[in-house]
Amino acid sequence: MSDDEKRASDDVELAKSQDDVEQAPLEPGAVPPPSIHFASRFDGLSGIIAPLITTLLAFLMGGLVVALTGKNPLKVYHAIFNGTGLNWFFHVGNYSARIPFSTQHMWFPWDTASVAAQNLQQTLLQTTPIILTGLAVAFAFRCGLFNIGGQGQYFAGTIFAVWLGSSFLNMSPWLHVPLVLVVGALAGAVWAGIAGILKATVGAHEVISTIMLNWTAIWVAEYLLGQGGPMQGSQPSIPISHDIAEGAKLPVIWGLKLLQGLSIGIFIAIAMLVVYWIIINRTTLGFEVRSVGFNPEAARYSGISVARSYFIAMAISGSFAGLAGALDITGWEYHLGQSDIPVNAIGFIGLAAALLGRNTALGVGMASLLFGALINGTSGRQLDPSIFRPDLAGNLTTIIQGLVILFVGLNLGGVWIWLKRRRRA
């Protein structure tokens, strides 16, 4: 039996099992099982090959769009790459770097003060929240839930971070920063927990409820920060909140605070990747969550509370996204403006990162770096306007994200089988 035929027979078996679920009558009051094909999202060409092909395909098609509108895609991509600061790694020399939290210097192979280094700081700043909103999507995914509400949970985090950050002006930083981060994460957890409770108790589809929660959060934030709104800062004509207190700002470890240097937020995000890996792979909670994700009926028979898993998975998801918001505020934004709200899409980029990273800790980290670099490289601050207009490039980023999501959901093996069957018929 060849490999393809084997996959084809697997496909038929999957179809059969799907059919069984379709015909099983739902008891009143029972939690409806999420469709069984959730498992098939993890199929296809496993490992790193499929995400790589996906990314290449997306960039190729994005380049096609650029070429069709009369620009040279290679030049454009090169300019974007230079803007990301990732070229920093290629310039090795004899430099020194300051050891964080001290005045000591040590030998270092790269120049920490070059333009590329500054660009890289911005890329890593962008990567930080994407890692966390990516984890927000990935964790729910492992439980068979589609948390499309990362954006709303992120805003819940930012709003509470701004509120608490600008409230206690004379608090010790050792207390203030953890307080802001924890409350931001909790706000996200509560916001996502609403969807989790609805899923667990009445079986409301989490996609619908998280979409509604997203837009509720967006409009509430517009109200809070708008002119005359309760969170508007001291200038009555400018719809921007107060700056957070000095004590609530995260320490900057690379670059200058005034120039948006890199804060320790990136390490918190990386630590959360480890936490995610440990929860999913090394705890009972993670085992239960994955069991429910693979097959809720089987999980129920083995004594796992499916409803509880749904709620907890959503709450943990939301806390990741809420933390993303809090880190953005305490790390470099320091305040929130009404005009930031409609243009912010961190939650949705997290969705792309989670899908591209196949919901694994390492994968989400790598994919977040890709999207963080892409966003930073195409921002108005980094891209040379004589080569490519930054506002065009921003839209190019959105197109590439869309293409990545489009192709990553695609079971590339499945397409192959389908084409083969068609040829036979």
Binding site: M212, L213, T216, V220, Y223, N395
Partner: protein, 407 residues
């Protein structure tokens, strides 16, 4: 007439359901008394009526009419809150905000894109394919509508908007075709492909907009979709200002609504559509091609939703800006869920959501502060309550979201 008389005679006045309906009405009256033209200045009246509505709701809820009962409770609570707000504010402000004829016309204007989006979604989801890409289809319709009209302006003159609407529909259908292939043949998760299409539409329309009109914006002399003037109606009290001068697309949305109802619930084709969405295996067994029905439904859904976008750009604001839909497609989806995937309840939901948008539009200018913005969030909150099952569970077509595998 006798038919109506029989129906009125047949109403069971003490039935819990009837009481519940009256509760909803009483809750609405509670608020209505406090605003123009009556403008009762005491808060006692709305509170008393609101409490009465809540009581009726609870009574009918306890007698197993949960949906109507819950509605009456919600309506009573809203009546109390809004009534108190209205009696607290000055009559001058009230007169400025609550001009019923203007509000009515604005409601219809805001409800029309929602209606197109929701009806498009109805076809798609009734066939068993979840469509979260309505936002993207609406946005692409908005851009390609105005793009087509500008392109045709030189040779089609004032009829260029027809070309625009056709271009919009084609663009929406193109996006929907991607969704259809991905969801039906490739069996990709429908929410993933829908989200991808939202991104693609946002990126492509933004890219082309900047590339073509980036420096100046869309030209101001685009031939828009004309208004329909009904001269003999225009002087009628209350009705005249509302429907005497409506955009053609609004009338089209009425026709679409009725046509959709007749098609989905009164023709064999509609029966096939619903069968495919509820139990594709059974439909396949009796010889209905599940794939064919789904393809037609999804692609036409894209065309319909995109026409709503064309109304937005060509009939309403007469220009395009990046991400101009800003959630309209999702409100359309919300209306569909709120209306339980049925045409007329969906339209009522669209009207309600349109009304809250119209209010949100008028409140800040009168009161000079922001809290009117919160009305923009109302559709989403109401839909959340609806899916939570407080006012009757919202349950979609049984096979929605599941790819069908032929055997």
């Amino acid at each position: 007439m006798t038919v109506i008389a029989t129906r009125i005679g047949g109403i069971q006045w003490t039935h819990p359901k009837t009481i519940g309906f009256f509760g909803v009405a009483v809750g609405a009256v509670a608020w209505w008394l406090a605003v123009p033209p009556l403008e009762s200045r005491t808060a006692v009246l709305p509170i008393a009526l609101g409490i009465l509505a809540v009581a009726m709701g609870i009574w009918s809820w306890s007698r197993d009419q949960r949906r109507v009962g819950g509605g009456a409770v919600a309506s009573g609570l809203f009546g109390i809150v809004l009534g108190i707000f209205a009696t607290r504010s000055s009559t001058a402000h009230l007169d400025e905000v609550v001009v019923w004829s203007a509000l009515g016309a604005a409601t219809l204007r805001y409800a029309t894109p929602l209606t197109f989006a929701a009806i498009g979604g109805l076809f798609c989801e009734r066939s068993g394919v979840i469509n979260v890409a309505l936002e993207g289809m609406l946005l692409s319709g908005a851009f390609f509508g105005i793009w087509g009209a500008i392109w045709a302006h030189s040779w089609a003159g004032s009829w260029a908007w027809v070309v625009g609407v056709i271009c919009a529909a084609l663009a929406g259908m193109a996006l929907a075709t991607i969704h259809a292939v991905w969801a039906i043949h490739l069996k990709v998760d429908q929410i993933i492909s829908g989200t991808a299409i939202n991104f693609l539409a946002l990126g492509i329309t933004g890219y082309l907009f900047i590339d073509k009109y980036g420096d100046t914006g869309t030209p101001g002399n685009v031939p828009g979709i004309p208004d329909v003037h009904i001269h003999f109606l225009q002087n009628w009290y209350f009705i005249g200002p509302i429907i005497g001068q409506l955009n053609l697309m609004i009338w089209l949305s009425f026709a679409l609504l009725i046509g959709t109802y007749v098609f989905v619930f009164r023709t064999p084709y509609g029966l096939r559509l619903r069968a495919v969405g509820e139990h594709p295996r059974a439909a396949d067994t009796v010889g209905i091609s599940v794939y064919k029905v789904r393809y037609i439904a999804v692609i036409s859904s894209g065309g319909i939703a995109a026409m709503g976008g064309a109304y937005l750009s060509l009939g309403f604001v007469h220009s395009f800006s990046e991400n101009m839909t800003a959630g309209t497609g999702f409100i359309g989806l919300a209306a569909l869920v709120f209306g339980k995937w049925r045409p007329f309840p969906t339209y009522c939901a669209a009207l309600l959501f349109g009304f809250s948008s119209a209010l949100a539009d008028r409140l800040p200018s009168a009161y000079g502060n922001q809290w009117g913005t919160l009305f923009q969030a109302l559709p989403y909150v109401l839909t959340l309550i609806a899916v939570a099952g407080v006012i009757g569970r919202s349950i979609g077509p049984a096979a929605a979201g599941r790819p069908y595998v032929k055997q």
